[in-house]
């Protein structure tokens, strides 16, 4: 057995739509060790969320995992029965979604929703589970937890709801936490509170965390490693400092140049990435980034580049380095 809690190997998730096969996840590889935090960055449609849903076993028709392995502590989740998966989901791997309003049940008190997860996975009695739920609310920093535990989701603010979601996710002490854009729907001052909370809980419990976001700033503040995705695949991977300071892939360059930064001079013009992300049902020949790449060479149109490790721990998929 390896040191990694979660290993994703050559994952392919395709959607069989009327218009053709949408290759949403097209060869994803990464590992996550205990206590590590990985940021997954990319634009909409780059396959970040589908990767997460594949790990959770939540891909539904017409989607299908066509290839690859998802190893949780060495055991392949793709070979598990739905019943076995149900024991793992919410217990060993938990997930926080972007929109805390639609992912909580509006007709149940929040206490019942947290206690439900605890009761199912830890075989506690209702009363004990309720106590444990109260403990979780305290842990995620909800003020007046004795009162809030009896409230319904609509009575809480967005930030509070996201704290409840985190409480549910962490209630069974998962080994892996997947957070899919956990702060995108929140205001900046609330986002800062929630990111701080996720960081603190991660340090306290050594949960391996996968944080999906489109915001490189969020990654810089919370993650150790970062994986940049494009067209369903990682195109660059390393520790956060390396990727932000010495990025190698033209797409990562483009992303960083198109972000307005506080430290910029005011009249500095942004450099957008021209064009649009590719149609995943109809990928261009060669490298999928080639239509938008300012550094393309003839070979890029012909051959899809293989991924390579440049030096220890810096992965890039680009012909510039072959």
């Amino acid at each position: 057995m390896s040191d990694f809690i979660l290993e994703v190997k050559d994952l392919h998730t395709y959607f069989y739509a009327d218009a053709g096969v949408v290759k949403a996840v097209n060869g994803v590889n990464f590992n996550l060790a205990k206590g590590q935090s990985l940021g997954v960055v990319g634009e909409s449609g780059s396959g970040k969320s589908i990767t997460a849903l594949s790990i959770m076993g939540l891909i539904q028709h017409p989607g299908k995992i066509t290839q690859g392995q998802i190893l949780l502590q060495g055991e392949d989740l793709l070979k598990k029965s739905p019943k076995e998966l149900q024991k793992i989901r919410g217990n060993e791997i938990a997930m926080i979604f972007q929109d805390p309003m639609t992912s909580l049940n509006p007709v149940l008190r929040i206490g019942e929703q947290i206690a439900e997860a605890i009761a199912i996975h830890q075989k506690m009695k209702r009363k004990e589970a309720w106590q444990a739920a109260l403990e979780m609310l305290k842990r995620v920093g909800i003020p007046e937890p004795e009162d809030r535990i009896k409230r319904y989701p609509h009575e809480l603010s967005g930030g509070m709801r996201q704290r409840v979601m985190i409480a549910i996710a962490l209630s069974c002490n998962p080994k892996v936490l997947i957070a899919d854009e956990p702060t995108t729907a929140l205001d900046v001052t609330i986002q800062a509170q929630i990111l701080n909370l996720i960081l603190k809980l991660q340090q306290d419990y050594h949960t391996a965390t996968m944080l999906i976001t489109h915001d490189l700033g969020v990654v810089a503040e919370t993650c150790q490693n970062v994986m940049v995705m494009y067209a369903g695949r990682p195109i660059e991977y390393s520790d956060v400092k390396t990727v932000l300071e010495t990025p190698k892939h033209p797409y990562t360059w483009g992303l960083l140049a198109s972000l307005p930064k506080l430290s910029d001079d005011r009249n500095q013009r942004l450099t957008p990435i021209e064009g649009l992300p590719p149609d995943l049902a109809n990928l261009p020949a060669g490298c999928p980034f080639v239509p938008r790449c300012p550094h393309k060479q003839p070979i890029c149109h012909e051959k899809d580049p293989d991924g390579q490790w440049l030096n220890t721990g810096h992965f890039v998929r680009c012909h510039l380095y072959s």
């Binding site: 930030g159 900046v188 972000l259």
Partner: protein, 331 residues
């Protein structure tokens, strides 16, 4: 607060003590039990060729301010003066010529375009309503506008669903530009877009401003984007402007504790270098139906003093057009 205005002659729009209250009704007879003070005594001005950024968290009243300026909502009180004309007194009919002068671009490029109209009809509609073009002229003008926003002739016959988010936002911009406006209210125009596309639209807005001499009121919650595009910035909290200043001054030397916290909360994509000290605000934004007594921010403020709980601090001039509504702010 007339001295909020710099040189009077190049002022395009002036807003004085604008209020927009929404009644809260409850019970069987729908009795009015209170008011949401979405915009509560807001004053500012917009100069020609200037971009005024309007920032704040959700529910602070920034979008309501934008809609009230165009009289898409009737103001509860206050004055909206466009080049000397008091818009708040005008009837719908009298307002019509001013609709040509002031346009709006919305956040969601998916729901702000009619899905049953092709692009050329969407862009031509304002031309027809305002009788700005007829016959073949319309087609020519539509093509010119598409060209201006970086689309082309062949896009004219397509429906909105055939476009990506960034392209739809370009269509919305072309529609706003059709009537040759002087002022465009941009209500979160890039928040729904991916970063690489967001930069394309920001650059387009900047190019159009210098080409056509436009003024913008740029409403957004993303402080990095606002810094990039604005000349002056107003920060709103619970319906009030708490600070307004030139962009460089506001970002380098914020005076109001809320602005300081807001700026420190932005995650920056850098690891090394000088880490800013983060001010972590506790709690949530209070309800605008019952804002706290005294300074609305005092429930979350790190520097709160007894007087803050009693009276609302006035927006004070701290020198060189930097205004802040805080008892503690020093020039």
């Amino acid at each position: 607060m007339g001295n909020l205005v710099g040189e009077m002659d190049d002022v395009l729009l002036e807003v004085r003590n604008l209020k927009q209250y929404f009644p809260v009704k409850s019970g069987l007879i729908q009795k009015i039990t209170g008011y949401v003070r979405a915009v509560d005594d807001v004053s500012f001005s917009v100069h020609k060729r200037e971009t005024l950024g309007l920032v704040g968290e959700s529910g602070c009243g920034k979008s309501t301010t934008g809609k009230t300026l165009l009289k898409l909502l009737d103001p509860t009180a206050g004055e909206i003066i466009y080049q000397g004309t008091h818009l708040e007194k005008l009837s719908i009919k009298e307002m019509r010529p001013f609709r040509r002068e002031m346009q709006i671009i919305f956040q969601d490029p998916y729901s702000s375009l009619n899905p049953r109209m092709v692009v050329k009809d969407i862009i031509a509609e304002p031309l027809i309503i305002h009788k700005l073009a007829a016959g073949v002229e319309i087609q020519q003008r539509v093509h010119d506008l598409l060209d201006l926003v970086g689309l082309n002739k062949k896009h004219a016959k397509r429906y909105p669903h055939e476009f990506s988010g960034g392209q739809r936002q370009r269509i919305g911009i072309a529609r706003a530009l059709a009537v040759d406006p002087k002022l465009i209210i941009c209500d979160e125009p890039v928040s729904a877009l991916d970063v690489s596309v967001q930069a394309q639209v920001i650059n387009l807005l900047e190019d159009l401003q210098s080409q056509l001499g436009l003024s913008y009121i740029f409403i957004a919650h993303d402080l990095s984007v606002v810094k990039h595009i604005s000349d002056r910035v107003a920060v709103m909290y619970l319906g009030k402007i708490v600070e307004i200043a030139e962009v460089d001054k506001l970002y380098s030397n914020p005076k109001h504790p809320y602005t300081q916290a807001l700026l420190s909360a932005i995650p920056e994509p850098q690891v090394s270098g000088t880490k800013r000290e983060r001010i972590l605000l506790q709690g949530d934004v209070p309800s605008p139906i019952r804002p706290p007594q005294g300074c609305h921010f005092h429930t979350r403020c790190l520097y709160v003093r007894p007087e803050c709980k009693e009276a609302y601090p006035p927006l004070r001039d701290l020198g060189s057009n930097h205004f802040a509504a805080c008892f503690l702010a020093k020039p």
